[in-house]
């Protein structure tokens, strides 16, 4: 399991929540009020209407992780919380990186992007936008390589994750 810079374990938590106004606000407010640390957070619709899927990356020891899970369950709109910190998950992040370049360096930037299976999605006279998908490490390392060309802008989504195989974080809802 990954360990963050502050020495705490890094966990991926998926929460399914009903798409009510204020639901996301409640989750964020909870983290702020209880001093839980969010490294990243993404939210989007799911396969079920009116349900959102929230992927949280948090740095926490065991007892804090337990508190996070239990406190999340106290939010009325939260239906299911799953810790996806085990190995059998697919975790991805998407980054858009705007890199400075000129006619001499453009080819090299494109070559690097290629090695990382990243794509050039926009080209201007003095910059390109690189789109890269992968685990955080991969994106971090591409960014550090691109740094010497001059990075103008970075936009990262934060992690989304899913269990491999048939089981899933949304399974509980089938019981009903």
């Amino acid at each position: 399991m990954a360990v963050s810079a502050n020495g705490l374990e890094r966990h991926t938590i998926v929460a399914l929540l009903e798409d009510e106004p204020g639901a996301l606000n409640r989750v964020v407010s909870l983290f702020r009020a209880r001093g839980f640390n969010i490294a990243s957070m993404t939210v989007g619709p799911t396969e079920t209407a009116n349900l959102s899927r929230l992927t949280l990356v948090v740095d926490a020891d065991e007892s804090v992780l337990e508190q996070i899970t239990k406190q999340l369950y106290k939010v009325i709109e939260v239906l299911k919380v799953t810790d996806l910190s085990e190995d059998k998950v697919v975790a991805r992040e998407l980054a858009l990186i705007k890199v400075s370049c000129n006619s001499q360096t453009r080819a090299e930037v494109m070559q690097m992007a290629d090695i990382y299976r990243a794509r050039i999605v926009d080209v201007a006279i003095d910059s390109v936008i690189v789109e890269c998908t992968g685990e955080e490490d991969k994106i971090d390392s591409l960014i550090s390589l691109l740094r010497r060309f001059g990075i103008k802008e970075i936009s990262r989504t934060g992690r989304v994750a899913m269990l491999r195989g048939a089981s899933g974080a949304t399974r509980v809802l089938d019981d009903e």
Partner: protein, 615 residues
């Protein structure tokens, strides 16, 4: 009177039929009636006018007009605590709604079922910084169990039903429903929903049997077990079950502040208040226990001191309905999540089937400590000591009155010196420690239990935060008695400055109004008592009067609450009354005859911290 006039021209309505088109305001009232509400506390304003417009049509919904919305929230809270039924308060948008905030936060920390109803600006004005617009659902988000902004009249009834369900089930708590003005006016077909659809809310009510059996085993194996009884006992009405567990397992019971009055003080296994201002013997029992059974309590820092050093020798059983409380503050070996009553019923049955348990030596030794070192007593003095007043109050009311406390030294003395014989007779703002709570909460408690004597025990500081509700008590003729323990100080803060801040008194002395005259000005009965000899007579006279009475007990200014376990320390750091060993005058436990106190505890009486009290 304005109220009478309204009654003349408004036709009182019997319940209106479901399936008819009603205004949002009518739907609110109809739904409240179906939730069993017959009393609401509130104060009107622009954004809630449509609701107030229809209220006179519902005389079954008694509306008590407060003088400040904080009073409405605390009164509804006091009503809820005293009755176990949800308390309802109503306020207008903006300042009305924000005035509820302290009351809502108070209810949140003490798990009280409070339903707050607020008006808001019309839906098309929301977000425009309209006159008296406050995002009250945003403001109260972290201090409610849940809240709602209702944008359509057809959502009113389902939302109110959900709100009452959430407030009163599982771990209870406050909820807030915000109704924009136009939603109160628009028409919709009224349907009171038969069922609720709340997929994300499934409180665990029944304990896991394997864990309950582990608890039974632990109780039988323990030599020195102790039960920590909390507010959850009264919330789940588990009084009988608590007593049965104590007796079947032969387990001493100590109580948190909100756990007082869960077991009669006269019960041989009841050792009363533990924690920061608990007795030496209760704290000593917890400190030496090899098994702690926390029931419906949350191991709060005022009860436990330093978490990592709490009950250092004990195995921990924690029974609570809120899984998030397990292991939050203090380690837990055997968690049992469930409603206290349900869990204890099964636990008692299992324990009985296993032959119960005996801990005679252990119980005897705590009785011995209690005799040797009662710790909580009234020092001999010619002066009027606050502890003496509380003792007399206990005596005259036979420990049977409902005591509603404010926050400060007097609150701790009321916890220490009043012998609570009846169930659910001690009401106090424990978690938030809200000054100003006591008096309005006493109004609510009296309205909920009109046949019982209700005393508000308040400080001269805290009373001044909500004393405007005297007008409410007079207008509604609510027979509540107020004992002001008037020490001329923000006493608890003064005590901390004396003990922990170099004796430097900073902004704690108060010049006060003449409280008796003030009470008379409001139309209540005002009394003043300055001599020890007059205390009993004064209390009796106050109780003989029919209607609100304020008694100003002018007491010794610089008394301290002892024992005290300084914040963040352990029972071993307990500081006792400096002259505990010198003299003992009275105590409700009355177990002191001639015994010389032993000095066997790890406590130290800290003479150097005695401060400037001249005796």
């Amino acid at each position: 009177m304005a109220v009478a006039q309204l009654d003349e021209f408004v036709q009182p309505h019997h319940r209106r039929a479901e399936g008819t088109r009603l205004s949002g305001s009518h739907i609110i009232c109809e739904t409240l009636l179906r939730e069993g509400v017959d009393l609401v506390f509130g104060l009107p304003g622009g954004a809630i006018l449509p609701l107030y417009h229809v209220l006179p049509e519902y005389p079954q919904l008694r509306h008590v007009l407060v003088r400040h919305e904080q009073g409405a929230a605390h009164a509804a809270d006091g009503y809820a605590r005293a009755t176990g039924r949800p308390g309802v308060c109503i306020a207008t948008s903006g300042p009305g709604a924000t005035n509820l905030v302290t009351g809502i936060a108070t209810a949140m920390l003490d798990s009280v079922p409070l339903v707050a109803i607020t008006g808001n600006v019309a839906t098309h004005m929301i977000g425009k910084d309209a006159f008296q617009e406050t995002d009250i659902t945003g403001v109260t988000l972290p201090i409610t169990k849940h809240n709602w902004l209702v944008m359509r009249p057809e959502d009113i009834a389902p939302t109110i039903k959900e709100a009452f369900h959430l407030a009163t089930t599982g771990r209870p708590g406050p909820v807030l429903i915000d109704f924009p003005k136009d939603v109160q006016q628009q028409l919709a077909v009224f349907e009171y929903p038969k069922v609720l659809h709340m997929r994300g809310y499934k409180p665990t009510l029944f304990g896991n049997i394997r864990q309950i059996r582990q608890a039974v085993k632990a109780i039988q194996e323990a030599k020195n077990p102790v039960i920590l009884a909390g507010h959850g006992i009264s919330i789940s009405d588990a009084y009988d079950e608590l007593q049965e567990l104590a007796e079947t397992g032969d387990i001493p019971v100590v109580q948190t502040l909100l756990g007082l009055s869960t077991l009669p003080v006269s019960h041989p296994l009841c050792f009363g208040f533990f924690g920061m201002h608990g007795s030496v013997y209760a704290n000593r029992a917890v400190h030496q226990a090899d098994l702690v059974i926390g029931i419906g309590m949350r191991f709060d820092d005022r009860a436990c001191g330093k978490f990592s050093a709490f009950a250092p020798k004990a195995k921990m059983i924690h029974i609570d309905i809120d899984p998030a409380e397990i292991g939050k503050n203090v380690r837990c070996d055997i968690p049992v999540v469930g409603d206290a009553k349900n869990v204890l019923m099964v636990l008692n049955k299992e324990l009985k089937a296993q032959g119960g348990a005996r801990h005679t030596e252990w119980v005897d030794s705590i009785h011995l400590w209690k005799r040797e070192r009662p710790g909580i007593k009234v020092r001999h003095s010619e002066k009027l000591l606050p502890q003496f007043v509380l003792n007399k109050l206990s005596e005259v009311t036979k420990g049977e009155a409902i005591i509603v406390c404010d926050v400060g030294q007097h609150q701790m003395w009321a916890a220490q010196h009043i012998a609570y014989h009846n169930r659910n007779t001690h009401i106090s703002s424990g978690g938030l420690g809200t000054m100003g709570f006591g008096f309005p909460a006493a109004i609510g408690a009296k309205m909920g239990r009109p046949d019982e004597t209700v005393w508000a025990v308040v400080g001269d500081g805290g009373f001044q935060m909500t004393l405007q509700e005297l007008a409410t008590a007079v207008q509604e003729n609510i027979d509540v008695k107020v004992a002001i323990i008037n020490n001329g100080y923000l006493g608890m803060v003064r005590q901390w400055q004396e003990l922990f801040h170099d004796n430097r008194y900073s902004s704690v002395a108060m010049s006060n109004p003449d409280f008796a005259k003030l009470a008379e000005a409001y139309g209540a009965k005002g009394m003043r008592c300055v001599h020890k000899a007059d205390v009993e007579k004064t209390i009796r006279e106050a109780m003989a009067h029919n209607g609100p009475v304020v008694v100003d007990f002018v007491v010794e200014a610089e008394e301290n609450v002892y024992p005290i376990i300084p914040a963040g320390t352990t029972a071993a750091d307990l500081i006792e009354e400096p002259d505990l060993l010198e003299q003992v005058e009275e105590t409700h436990i009355n177990l002191l005859e001639g015994e010389s106190p032993a000095l066997a505890t790890g406590s130290r009486s800290n003479g150097s911290k005695q401060g400037k009290r001249g005796r």
